[in-house]
């Protein structure tokens, strides 16, 4: 094998290693947020949506 071929092979190997490293890092960043506890704001928001619906449903229709 020529030195040039060896060089190409080494270069491809480095690219693969780096791509894997980037993939791992992306997943780590994303998963870290997924694993965070959900802030109360979100739960309150869903609760409010519900209350709002119930209030509007109970209101008598205007004539």
């Amino acid at each position: 094998m020529s030195n040039e071929q060896k060089g190409d092979r080494e270069k491809n190997r480095v690219i693969r290693v780096r791509q894997r490293a980037i993939g791992r890092e992306l997943r780590r960043m994303y998963d870290n947020v997924v694993k965070e506890p959900v802030p109360d704001d979100f739960l309150n928001l869903l609760q409010k949506i519900d209350d709002h619906e119930e209030t509007t449903a109970d209101e008598p229709e205007e004539r």
Partner: protein, 219 residues
């Protein structure tokens, strides 16, 4: 900030209650909405606003969701559309505002995010919105190219080429900026690599050489 472990806001309802079921689905997917929003926006607060707007929109549009189809993809589509209509391009406007983060008292989460902000995270800000979202959906979110294409409202081939270009761009950015922290196995002198990582990532070092950090982040 007060937080609560994920859990149902109300007791689960029966199958005769489609709204209740829909809401349970929303609740379950909040962590993923936050993760996708954060990867689009970069800034945690703006991202959470975006995720909350998405929940409200989803609830208002719930009659258009076909039960049994992919709720996650449906929600991600809403979030993405909202992101573009709001033009919340925080990544571009401010890749990372270290000073603002340090001013917020008790912003431990944000600080943790800053300290952990890796070369890869910073390099993401250099990608186009289209490339970044494609890469996140496929590379981190675990979506198939087909589902990602549906979310991004484009052809499958377009997603594939965006992901490929995004990967290529990230590698060339990271190669251009010093030894690659994440590929430490490849470096010949571990001490140099560790010093470079400390210089870039340690909160103390970051404060000491803020100008330098900002410069490298904007490059």
């Amino acid at each position: 900030m007060t937080v609560t472990q994920p859990g149902p806001a109300k007791p689960p309802r029966t199958k005769n209650d489609p709204d209740g079921e829909f809401k349970a689905g929303l609740l379950e997917l909040i962590p993923f909405l936050r993760a996708f929003a954060r990867s689009l926006c970069g800034n945690p607060d703006i991202a959470d606003d975006l995720a909350q707007e998405t929940l409200v929109k989803a609830w208002q549009s719930r009659s258009t969701f076909a039960p049994g189809t992919n709720l996650k993809a449906w929600l991600f589509t809403i979030l993405r559309n909202q992101f573009y209509s709001d033009r919340r391009r925080a990544w571009r406007q401010a890749p990372w505002d270290q000073d603002a983060a340090e001013r917020i008292p008790g912003a431990s989460e944000e600080q943790a995010w800053a300290a952990e902000l890796s070369d890869t995270a910073r390099a993401l800000s250099s990608l186009s919105d289209e490339q970044r979202e494609a890469l996140i959906l496929v590379g981190a979110g675990g979506f198939s190219y087909e589902a990602a294409a549906q979310i991004c409202n484009c052809a499958v081939g377009t997603v594939k080429s965006r992901v490929a270009r995004a990967r290529k761009t990230l590698i060339s950015i990271l190669e251009g900026s010093e030894p690659l922290a994440a590929a430490g196995n490849d470096t010949t002198d571990p001490t140099v690599d560790i010093m470079a990582q400390l210089d870039r990532l340690a909160p103390g070092a970051a404060t000491a050489s803020k100008g330098k950090l900002k410069k490298s982040a904007s490059e």
